[in-house]
């Protein structure tokens, strides 16, 4: 069931930022992304000081939000990132960290929804804010 949920993610290598779905329904999702030092962008971000790019944390939260949006639908729609709202990054993410990503629908107007999103490493919140996902 849970692996099937991940099969619904249209993103593939090298742009899949979810490794495993922990929980998923049509309102909320929880997923995991393991950050490996082998990932190509660490060659430049940054050479001597690898930091997982904040925009990719947003991408991971957006990918999970898209899965929540399509959860339980027989006809899958494309989910587009429509808005990034006040995302705050609190602590740098480094190789070896495990991101636990959460996305919960705040408001859904059939086809367009705002999400409250956050990402934790252990007990620390590393990023939080809001996203809007539109389907077409």
């Amino acid at each position: 069931m849970k692996n099937e949920a991940l099969d619904n993610l249209p993103h593939s290598y090298p742009f899949r930022f979810i490794d495993r779905i922990i929980e998923l329904d049509s309102k909320k999702g929880i997923a995991v992304k393991n950050v490996s030092v082998n990932e190509a962008f660490f060659q430049g971000h940054f050479k001597e000081d690898p930091i997982f790019p904040g925009v990719l944390i947003i991408e991971a939260m957006a990918q999970l939000s898209g899965l929540v949006m399509n959860c339980g639908k027989t006809e899958k729609t494309k989910a587009y990132l429509a808005r990034v709202k006040d995302i705050k990054f609190k602590t740098p993410v480094v190789p070896g960290d495990q991101l636990v990503i959460e996305a919960e629908i705040e408001q859904n107007l059939s086809g367009i929804a705002s999400f409250s999103v956050k990402t934790r490493v252990g007990n620390n919140i590393v990023a939080e804010g809001g996203l809007v996902i539109a389907t077409a």
Binding site: Q107, L109, S110, I112, A134
Partner: protein, 84 residues
């Protein structure tokens, strides 16, 4: 009622980061489309969130949103109607 309308206009300007003054919005000004405020569907969603948080009225349905989110007057009527 006019209190609600003033509050609505201020909420609109603040939440949607409109670059106009609240008092310049007419009670019957169209919120969407040309000739009005030119809001889009992403603004509509933000507006629905704002109405819930600041006016305690819930819009969960697209059809209701299309009926209510027309002008300041139509939103104010909806808020008044929800009270009774």
């Amino acid at each position: 009622m006019s209190d609600i309308k003033e509050k609505l206009k201020e909420m609109l300007v603040k939440r949607l980061k409109l670059k106009i003054e609240a008092k310049t919005i007419g009670d019957n000004t169209a919120l969407f489309g040309e000739g009005g405020l030119g809001l889009d569907s992403i603004d509509a969603l933000e507006l629905v969130v704002g109405l819930q948080k600041e006016f305690n009225v819930v819009i969960n349905d697209k059809a209701v949103a299309e009926r209510v989110l027309i002008s300041i007057n139509t939103i104010a009527d909806f808020i008044e109607g929800a009270k009774t």
